[in-house]
């Protein structure tokens, strides 16, 4: 092994960490990535919108039923085309991660980190705009008139008698863990 090669390739340990990262990304697909819990005096147990990469779960029908009072449009998988292809993007990223582990090239790793960061930012913006769309595009004929609002991606918001809590889901924690695993080789195999 010469020096120049040492600079562009990373260690087997790092490769294993990156493999683990790919595994975590795959696992994340089976868990919810984000959720919103609605609490009201009549719903102390909370109503959920649980977002998986490919589906919505929770008490969507009940939430839609209540949201029509403020003129909000229905949450449905149909209204989120992202849910039909997001799973392939995530799968693709997992594949790229695995490929990076096999190639063991630092440049590829930099590229991968860049792509994942980009996809992540895009995802956050997408969610933000979706929330904005729902919160500001309220029917003018709604029985209860409220000011337009944008629920936060993480945190609390109050709408009429509902307090919503938005939070990250298990899946995203796996992704964060996966991302940290990708960063470790940068430090571990840094040129000294």
């Amino acid at each position: 092994m010469n020096d120049s090669k040492k600079g562009s390739k990373f260690s087997v340990t790092s490769s294993l960490l990156i493999t683990l990262s790919a595994v975590l990304i795959v696992i994340s697909m089976f868990f919810p990535w984000w959720k919103m819990v609605f609490y009201a005096p009549q719903y102390p147990e909370g109503l959920n919108i649980i977002v998986y990469p490919n589906k919505l779960k929770g008490e969507i029908d009940i939430i839609n039923g209540l949201n029509h009072y403020i003129g909000m449009s229905n949450f449905s998988e149909k209204n989120f085309p992202e849910l039909s292809y997001l799973i392939y993007i995530i799968g693709g990223l997992a594949g790229l991660t695995l490929l990076t582990a096999i190639l063991r090239m630092k440049k590829v790793l930099y590229g991968l980190i860049g792509i994942i960061a980009l996809v992540g930012v895009t995802g956050i913006l997408d969610l933000h705009f979706a929330l904005q769309r729902y919160g500001t595009n309220l029917s003018s004929k709604a029985p209860i008139k409220i000011d337009p609002f944008v629920p936060p991606i993480i945190g609390e918001n109050t709408v009429a008698n509902f307090i919503t809590h938005s939070m990250l889901g298990t899946g995203i924690y796996f992704v964060i863990a996966a991302f940290i695993l990708l960063l470790i080789p940068l430090w571990k195999d840094r040129v000294r």
Partner: protein, 621 residues
């Protein structure tokens, strides 16, 4: 280079993420406590947020309903309409319940009985009898609603179920009033020859939720009162009390109280079942009828102190205890001795073709607590001790069936008929609580005029008996059963039934279909509107012609616990409810022309008051 650091930190990251997401940090509090150091108020106080330990199912007598209470708080939770119409729930108005009621408008609900598995309540079904119109019903404990009612022929006033057999094979319905077979006209002068006290063996088809009659027994024309099924070693047997063995036909108060002894009918239902299988019966009004004087076997008479009321089998299934309401004593009989007497044909003659067992051969002991009068009904605790209600001396007496010794007694206000202890009819009673079902409340509550509610008194039986709470109750609990709350598994919403042709779950699929003069509405109710035809200019309007036969199929698409909608048509005397997820049908003829507002009767939401529409009936010509 320490290679394990990055690996470990990676795994740690994963575990932390998993822990944050999955760990259950909530703590569970144990609410159950029966500490004897608690005050009476503390014993019955169930704080907001906590729930009672037991459900009490009390028969509603001539209200035709069943009342559900929580124990120990004695808070009333629910009224289940069974044999009578109830506009609060639309019972008797919608198609299903109207059919169940079979044209009757009231009933006299006497004896509730839980379904049992291995002699223990299984919390699945509740049965009840109607003395008023000779029916039996089954209530589904997933929804607390009546599912089936059967009219029992040849019988008039099934007073009590045999509290079902050990595995709910049968519910026995002995009759209180003897009538001629088919309830045909016969002169009362021919009472002994032409009248019969028919007992019915009712079966329950759990899969199809259907009651049926397995067979009937044409017992002598006496009045049959209480009954109980055997347990464990006596599981194939059942016992019931009978009075008016004098066969008097008038002024029964005097004439049916003449004989010093009446009987307990002891029968082996397995043997009767076998006889029916072997064809040893006669067909009467489509029923398989056993005539004990012709098809011998399986039925015996046990002499008992005059005019008995209660007969109760001990939890171990070894004894049955009879109480003569006009005699001061209770009698403990031994099943084992009875079996031996049957085997040895140790008979003291026959009555109406049925062998009479020798009293001395079957009797274990007579129990006569001092000055205790009018013993009616006995319940048991976890130690097998007996608690008998004394109607006339107005008290509960605790005694030991094994020794006959009186252990404790407590006055109750006033005149208890039955009492019920926690799971007191099972092979394993819980002890803890006993409730006296008193016929007279008189001065107990704020006065409401000359007549008062009945009263249910909660008695702590964990130590010395003590009345610690009294709750008023509508007329009138004859009997009640108390079940551990965790045995009952209710549903929150009705599940979608895609096979139900009357159900519509999407707004867009609502429609009004006309077939000749029949109009079928397939509509939905949701917060806070009705949609009968989504494509219509006014989706919440139904317009028909005078004389049309109208079917309104309504589905509540709010799959949300307790969001129940009602549906009433003003001035048409119609109202029904649709519980969350439920589909219900209303059928009627639009014979009145005019404009009739329709509206949601069950307060459902902030805009409930706006949940209405119109039912328009165009006049003929």
């Amino acid at each position: 280079m320490k290679k394990w650091i990055p690996i470990a930190s990676g795994l740690l990251a994963g575990f932390v993420a998993a822990t944050i997401s999955f760990a259950d940090f909530s703590t569970k509090t144990n609410t159950e406590a029966a500490s004897s150091t608690k005050s009476n108020a503390e014993k019955v106080y169930v704080p907001f947020g906590e729930k009672d330990d037991y459900y009490l199912f009390a028969s509603g007598g001539h209200s035709g309903q069943m009342f559900i209470y929580g124990v120990p708080s004695m808070r009333k939770i629910r009224t289940i309409p069974v044999f009578s119409q109830d506009s609060a729930t639309g019972y008797g108005f919608d198609e299903h319940s109207k059919k169940l009621m079979g044209g009757y408008t009231w009933g006299d609900l006497h004896h509730p009985a839980f379904s049992e598995t291995k002699g223990d309540y299984d919390g699945k079904w509740m049965f009840a009898t109607d003395v008023g119109n000779s029916r039996a019903a089954v209530v589904d404990l997933k929804t607390f609603t009546t599912k089936d009612i059967i009219k029992v022929p040849n019988t008039a006033g099934p007073h009590c179920a045999a509290f079902v057999t050990e595995n709910t094979e049968y519910m026995f319905l002995p009759t209180r009033f003897a009538v001629p077979l088919g309830q045909k006209y016969e002169s009362l002068d021919d009472y002994s020859a032409k009248y019969r006290g028919v007992m019915s063996a009712v079966t329950f088809d759990e899969k199809n939720v259907k009651l049926n009659i397995g067979y009937q027994v044409a017992l002598p024309p006496w009045s049959y009162d209480l009954s109980d099924a055997g347990k464990k070693g006596s599981a194939d047997w059942a016992v019931m009390t009978t009075y008016n063995t004098e066969e008097s036909t008038t002024t029964m108060e005097i004439n049916a109280s003449q004989a010093d002894r009446d009987y307990i009918v002891l029968f082996n239902w397995k043997e009767l079942e076998k006889m029916v299988k072997e064809g040893k019966y006669e067909e009467v009004d489509g029923q398989k009828m056993i005539f004990p004087e012709k098809q011998k076997g399986g039925i015996y008479l046990v002499p008992v102190a005059k005019s008995p009321h209660g007969v109760d089998v001990t939890p171990d299934g070894k004894y049955f205890i009879a109480s003569g309401k006009l005699a001061p004593a209770m009698t403990v009989f031994s099943f084992e001795k009875a079996f031996k007497a049957v085997e040895n044909k140790d008979f003291a003659g026959e009555r109406n073709g049925i062998p009479i067992l020798n009293y001395e051969s079957v009797m274990e002991r007579e129990v006569n607590p001092e000055n205790a009068l009018g013993p009616l009904h006995t319940q048991f605790d976890d130690k097998g001790m007996a608690y008998t209600t004394m109607f006339i001396s107005s008290e509960i007496v605790k005694w030991d069936p094994k020794t006959g010794k009186t252990l404790d007694r407590v006055p109750v206000q006033y005149s208890p008929g039955h009492s019920v202890s926690a799971e007191g009819d099972t092979v394993a009673p819980d002890g803890k609580w006993l409730i006296a079902l008193n016929k007279i409340a008189k001065d107990t509550y704020l006065s409401v005029g000359p007549s008062h509610p009945e009263s249910m008194q909660l008695i702590d039986i964990s130590g010395k008996m003590k009345v610690i709470m009294s709750a008023p109750v509508d007329p009138e609990p004859h009997y009640a059963q108390m079940i551990k709350a965790d045995k009952i598994k209710t549903i929150n919403v009705y599940p979608k039934d895609t096979k139900n042709k009357d159900a519509v779950y999407k707004q867009s699929e609502t429609k009004i279909v006309r077939k000749g003069n029949e109009v079928h509405v397939y509509g939905i109710a949701m917060r806070s509107r009705f949609i009968f035809d989504a494509k219509s200019k006014r989706p919440d309007v139904i317009e028909v012609n005078q004389g049309d036969h109208v079917f309104i199929h309504l589905t509540n698409i709010d799959f949300d616990e307790d969001i129940t909608h009602g549906f009433a048509i003003n001035s048409y005397d119609l109202n029904m409810e649709v519980q969350p997820g439920q589909t219900n049908t209303m059928e009627f003829t639009a014979d009145k022309a005019g404009t009739f507002p329709l509206y949601c009767t069950n307060f459902c939401s902030a805009l409930h008051q706006e949940m209405n529409g119109y039912f328009l009936v165009k006049p003929k010509n």
